[in-house]
């Protein structure tokens, strides 16, 4: 694990920051580097993308943390990658062509937070209806929803 992180820092220099809060390895990186870092880590044996999600830090700029979890089968360890994005249309490059599991995970992240994944093969809503207004997991989305509930039967 140590060698992989050293190699990562060697290849990407000060664009990546490695820390270990609560004994879990976290790598902070800029959005533009995500594809190259994930590809690099995959070549180093991180062969599972466990999860892609986001955290809305409303009030902070950039507003969102996009969080990736990878797993190394031989080292038996997880690795968390964090990318900060903001603006009116938060956009991150998609890693769906690196890991197939990113396809649905990024769709869910788009559905829930409105984060766009550039280069995703089919970026559409996955859990909410296609014509839904708003992105439910954003902090400024009220718990009761933006619109009144849709009718049970559509005419």
């Amino acid at each position: 694990m140590k060698e992989i992180l050293d190699a990562l820092e060697e290849s990407f220099g000060d664009r990546v920051t490695v820390s270990e809060p609560l004994g879990q390895t976290v790598v902070q990186l800029p959005a533009a580097e995500i594809v190259s870092v994930v590809t690099f880590l995959k070549s180093q044996g991180f062969n599972m993308l466990i999860d892609v999600t986001a955290v809305d830090r409303l009030g902070r700029e950039p507003r969102f943390d996009v969080v990736y979890h990878l797993y190394h089968l031989d080292e038996k360890a997880w690795l968390r990658l964090k990318v900060q994005v903001g603006g009116d249309e938060p956009t991150v490059p998609s890693i769906a062509h690196v890991f197939a599991s990113a396809n649905w995970a990024e769709r869910e992240c788009y559905d829930m937070f409105g984060i766009r994944f550039r280069g995703h093969p089919d970026l559409k809503r996955i859990l909410m209806p296609d014509d839904w207004n708003g992105h439910p997991l954003r902090k400024d989305y009220p718990l009761t929803g933006l619109d009144p509930l849709p009718p049970l039967v559509r005419e």
Binding site: I50, D51, V55, V67, H69, A105, D122, L127, L137
Partner: protein
């Protein structure tokens, strides 16, 4: 794997016909809930397939942000409702990690015991329903009977059969009740016989073998690529079991084997789960035999509430009790990922706390969500009837896929 929208429009040059599109579900017994699968068919062969989910989305992750850390446990029950206890497990471990506490050994053993019991219960439901999908009705009645015994055990200690919320942050709802051990031992002694009965029902049944062997296979590389975990990944020959690779809650004290098969087809998945039940039984027996005496929750009143007698006698206990139930546990700010090996795979919780009594964000990595995403790859160019076998073998719970 073909894209369904383009496949629909393609005209076969020989026959001049377009593929027929049919919907499986969302309301169909073989989809194990409200899964909808759109398939484009050429005769009975599948040209393209698209699973559509979201019909059971209940906003659990959003609702967690509005509840205190202990209240949110009740929502985790309702995701994988066939094995609610393993869902509680990952969540409470995550919050305890943020708090920096470790529960006493007795509590850890009881947790392991219940997690393994609910693994058996979950596999029993899978076995019954998957066999019913293949047209074998009787295994369902057998497995439900044994599952009910496990639910009785859960009811005995947690008060409810289905959504027990038995694990609490810093401990359990309560200690094992009197008479529990005898009842558990009666189950442990009786179950191996029933396991043999299941094998007798299915293992030499020619229809069962014909339908399962070589159906919906996947290679280990593909399975890893799709983020498959749990019995499905182990059926491809990869011995990834978090109980062994990243032990939590004293799993390192227990002696059990990680079950793997190599074929990666439906038949291999069936065998992995069947043999896993036997291993779980071994773990439960070890846990009850070596159950340590002592406390079953963390000391002090800051995390685990004082008991009722104490509240009547002690003013300070009353204050702590009031604070815990109005404001919730104060969890230090931070982020944590905690994962446990559930019956369907890795159940992961990414919990963010901002230092208040409510979680800032709870992300649930449901194993079924990632497992079902690979369905199109499994059934590409196979027969329509294989879709049912494939869905059954993936063992999805839509409550967890949609959350």
């Amino acid at each position: 794997m073909a894209d369904i929208e383009t496949t629909i429009g393609q005209v076969d040059p020989e026959t001049g016909l377009k593929p027929m599109v049919i919907n499986l579900g969302p309301q169909h017994p073989a989809t194990h809930g409200v899964l909808r699968v759109r398939v484009a068919l050429d005769g009975e062969q599948i040209r393209a397939c698209e699973p559509i989910i979201g019909y059971l989305h209940t906003g659990i992750e959003k609702n967690c942000e509005d509840l205190t850390f202990n209240q949110a446990i009740t929502l985790t029950d309702r995701m994988d409702y066939l094995s609610p206890i393993t869902n509680n497990f990952g969540y409470v471990l995550g919050v305890e990690k943020l708090l920096g506490v470790e529960v006493p050994k007795r509590c850890q053993y009881i947790r392991v015991m219940f997690a393994e019991l609910s693994r058996i219960a979950s596999h029993l439901v899978w076995l019954g329903t998957a066999a019913m999908d293949m047209g074998a009705m009787s295994p369902f009645f057998y497995t439900m009977q044994q599952r009910e015994q496990i639910l009785d055990l859960i009811e005995m200690s947690a008060g409810t059969r289905m959504n027990p919320s038995y694990f609490r942050v810093g401990g359990l709802l309560n200690d094992l009740p009197p008479g529990f051990e005898e009842k558990l031992r009666a189950f442990l002694d009786g179950f191996p016989h029933w396991l043999q009965e299941y094998y007798a029902l299915l293992d030499r049944n020619p229809i069962w073998i014909e339908r399962l062997k070589g159906t919906a296979p996947i290679t280990a590389e593909k399975a890893l690529d799709y983020g498959w975990t749990g019995p499905l990944l182990r059926a491809c020959g990869i011995p990834r079991d978090l109980r062994k690779t990243n032990p939590y809650s004293s799993y390192e004290d227990f002696d059990f084997d990680v079950i793997t098969e190599t074929d990666g087809d439906v038949y291999a998945r069936y065998h992995v789960r069947m043999r896993e039940m036997k291993e779980s039984l071994k773990i439960v027996r070890q846990a009850i035999d070596n159950l340590p005496e002592g406390e079953w929750h963390v000391p002090g009143w800051k995390i685990y509430p004082p008991n009722k007698q104490e509240i009547g006698r002690n003013m300070e206990a009353l204050i702590y009790h009031f604070k815990l139930f109005t404001e919730g546990i104060r969890v230090p700010a931070g982020e944590v990922y905690s994962a446990v090996e559930g019956p369907k795979g890795e159940i992961g919780y990414f919990i963010v706390s901002d230092g208040s009594g409510k979680p800032y964000r709870v992300r649930v990595r449901g194993p079924s969500f990632y497992n079902i995403a690979a369905l199109p790859t499994l059934v590409q160019d196979k027969m329509l009837a294989d879709v049912v076998a494939a869905i059954g073998s993936i063992d999805i719970v839509l409550g967890e896929v949609d959350r």
